[in-house]
């Protein structure tokens, strides 16, 4: 199981803070989340900053980054300053 957590305005739009899902790759995970919450498009998910266990996917294999049981994936929508 993959633990998925949402942050930023994305979380307010989804109305969920976390969920558990099976997926082997990030792109697969995006499709599954979209199927569950179809008001959230794949594009919107792709435009989040995505971390797998504290690592930005851009430093891994981006949307092809592999997932394994127990991984934690964060989706954080665009952020500015404070």
């Amino acid at each position: 199981m993959i633990l998925v957590r949402f942050f930023g305005t994305l979380r307010l739009s989804i109305g969920e803070s976390r969920l558990e899902m099976e997926a082997e790759r990030i792109d697969q995970l995006l499709v599954k989340i979209n199927q569950k919450y179809n008001k959230i498009g794949i594009k919107q998910l792709k435009n989040a900053v995505i971390f797998i266990n504290n690592q930005n996917i851009n430093k891994l294999e981006r949307f092809k980054s592999r997932l394994k049981d127990g991984d934690e994936v964060l989706f954080i929508s665009a952020m500015g300053g404070g």
């Binding site: 957590r5 942050f7 930023g8 305005t9 979380r11 307010l12 803070s17 792709k46 435009n47 989040a48 900053v49 995505i50 971390f51 504290n54 930005n56 996917i57 851009n58 981006r62 949307f63 964060l74 954080i76 929508s77 665009a78 952020m79 500015g80 300053g81 404070g82």
Partner: protein
């Protein structure tokens, strides 16, 4: 003194509250061209009037309250005003920016600035209306909380702008703040200076208006600017919906959330104090400073009452940094600290330091990380200087001088650091160290925005960091001087990049930026030659032109910013500041976050050297004569 430029009222008032004397302070159009207004105008006034002998708590120290040419003209996010003085925390110049209505009311009363000098014998409040200044006895107000004081004053002078202090200011807590409505000139102890002067409040009102030189153009520019802000993902979505608190989760993910007195960069319970949780559980609506389309302020409901919600920094310093996971407590403390009139960042920072001193057996106070139920009482003790509160009121630096623990006393130049842990954003670390007012995230240049928050440039490399810190500091300095909130600058960053963090273009920009230091430095060096035009994404310069008629473009804006930053530096140097004061605690420069991968520290020495060179300062951090000449600062003093 009349001005030929629009937007200005053309008069600055100097009030000596000891002698009860009032006169106009000379401020010329030439000064407006060079220093624009706000914090830069204030720096010039302080530079010209303070001697080396002036100490923060002395009658010659001035409170300089200034507006910018855009203040009160209806420009987006432009109700801002500035308070500068010698800080009782740092002994150096400080400037605190505030979004309350005092600034625009000061302009309505006919003034661009108000300078207060001297010390009253008895508590006093000032009433300013058009050309009249009245001195009122404030004995009945002395001791009142900031909220109550403002209510009482509103009964006396209806529809007025107010500046007030609370008990913390009266009792000279070194990080006491000044309040205007719900908004705060929060940092570096400006409230203690007002308290020392025995000035409880200033109330101002009037009916005058600053006229723009080109009203039609101004309206057009403002309309477009507002639209731009409303459509931008940060200013039209994140800030209105989540406030600044929305950053906390991202900071945690990037390991830059100060936790347990900056020992760590992540907090296990961050979600319980996050902006998202705040929005889901407590938020009633968002709120803004006058004329702001962004409205980043929060109104929350706690214990059945609708009150002001906290900013990111308050949550960070009173949450993760003391290992407190109760957002409800933070909401209550936020109101209490505002009422007592003290800065939540320095309060949280000082308490976190005391907690670590206790843990190490150095100063046994009973203050412990994660044990926070009794902290409301400690805050009151600080404000009234009772028990250990009397020492906590002195701030982290002085606690370390008394008890030891310098290596983990988290301040720079005596001011407690904000909530960004810079070992994971080294450019932010450089900014903290060289900032004119000490450990302020904004005066630092806020490079963390590029180092993970909105962009994702390598946060550990030193490449281009000094160049980027310089340009960011300059643009923020000038924006503030214009009377605008620096959040209005966010539309400068293309949404195409900010809202698409994984796109090819964004990744390219993130990779290229650290290699573009040379280009940024050419701009830093020759701003008026390289960018002698307006940038489409920075409406500010067009706004300044349409309001004031001043010659303005992005290059000129940067030049004014550099002039302001250097002038503040010059004032600090005159007061004995050396490169040694551009400092970060040992914990950040020599010890990496436990178990963090990669193990990093802030390589300060290297970046500092580069920064001085870019700024045109010598190796001791002093602006050279050549730099002063270039910035038209040589010989500008009286």
């Amino acid at each position: 003194m009349f001005s030929n430029y629009g937007g200005y009222m053309g008069k600055t008032l100097l009030v000596n509250i000891a002698k009860r004397e009032v006169r106009e302070y000379p401020w010329t159009d030439r000064a407006r061209e060079l220093f624009l207004g706000g914090k830069i105008m204030a720096a010039k006034i302080l530079y010209d009037n303070l001697t080396v002998e002036t100490t923060p708590f002395s009658k010659d120290n001035m409170l300089v309250i200034t507006t910018g040419p855009l203040t009160g003209t209806g420009a987006p996010c432009s109700s801002r005003f500035n308070i500068s003085t010698l800080s009782p925390l740092t002994g150096l110049i400080t400037s605190s920016n505030c979004g309350g209505d005092f600034g625009l009311m000061l302009k309505k009363a006919g003034y661009d600035g108000l300078i207060i000098t001297g010390k009253a014998e008895q508590p006093l409040w000032l009433e300013i209306e058009s050309n009249h200044v009245k001195f009122h006895d404030a004995t009945d107000l002395w001791g009142e909380l900031t909220g109550k004081t403002q209510q009482l004053l509103e009964r006396k002078v209806k529809k007025s702008g107010k500046l007030v202090i609370g008990p913390a200011g009266e009792n000279l807590v070194r990080y006491a703040s000044i309040f205007s409505g719900e908004r705060t000139a929060g940092r570096a102890g400006v409230g203690a200076i007002m308290g020392w002067k025995k000035l409880k409040a200033v109330v101002v009102r009037g009916r005058e208006r600053a006229s723009p030189v080109n009203a039609n153009l101004m309206k057009k520019v403002y309309k477009k600017w507002i639209k731009r802000l409303q459509q931008h993902s940060l200013t039209g979505n994140q800030l209105p919906r989540l406030g600044t608190a929305g950053l906390l989760s991202s900071m945690n993910a990037h390991k830059i959330l100060a936790t347990r007195n900056f020992k760590y960069g992540q907090y296990k319970d961050f979600e319980k104090v996050s902006g998202e949780y705040l929005a889901e559980k407590y938020l009633i609506k968002n709120k803004g400073c006058t004329s702001c389309p962004i409205r980043c302020g929060r109104v929350v409901k706690v214990n059945g009452q609708e009150v002001k919600g906290p900013e990111l920094e308050t949550i960070g310093l009173l949450g993760p940094n003391i290992e407190n996971n109760s957002l409800k407590q933070i909401l209550q403390w936020n109101v209490l600290l505002d009422d007592l009139g003290m800065d939540s960042i320095s309060t949280g920072g000082s308490i976190a330091f005391a907690m670590e001193l206790h843990e190490k057996g150095i100063w046994k106070t009973g203050l412990q990380f994660g044990k926070t139920d009794h902290l409301a009482d400690i805050f009151k003790d600080i404000a009234y200087r009772e028990g250990i509160g009397d020492l906590l009121a002195e701030g982290t630096k002085r606690l370390a001088e008394r008890f030891g623990g310098k290596n983990f006393a988290m301040h720079s130049k005596g001011m407690e650091l904000a909530a960004y842990e810079p070992r994971g954003a080294v450019g932010q670390g450089l900014g903290y160290a060289v900032s004119n007012r000490g450990g302020c995230h904004l005066n630092a240049g806020y490079l963390v925005l590029l180092e993970g928050l909105s962009f994702d440039i390598d946060p550990f490399t030193t490449k281009a960091k000094a160049a980027l810190v310089t340009i960011f500091q300059n643009v923020m300095e000038a924006t503030s001087a214009a009377g605008s909130c620096i959040f209005s600058l966010y539309s400068m960053f293309p949404d195409l990049i900010i809202s698409k963090p994984n796109s090819k273009l964004t990744r390219l920009v993130n990779n290229l930026l650290p290699r573009m230091g040379w280009l940024v430095n050419i701009i830093n060096k020759y701003p008026t030659k390289v960018v002698p035009f307006d940038l489409p994404n920075v409406p500010l310069t067009r706004a300044i032109k349409s309001v004031t008629g001043l010659k303005m473009n992005f290059g000129k804006l940067l030049e004014i910013g550099a002039r302001g930053y250097t002038l503040e530096r010059l004032l600090n140097v005159k007061r004995g500041l050396t490169a040694l004061a551009d400092y970060l605690p040992h914990r950040l420069t020599n010890v990496s976050q436990p178990s963090a991968k990669p193990e990093t520290v802030v390589p300060l020495a290297k970046m500092k050297k580069e920064y001085y060179k870019i700024r045109g300062w010598d190796r001791l951090g002093r602006p050279t004569n050549r730099t002063l000449k270039k910035l038209k600062l040589l010989g500008v003093s009286k």
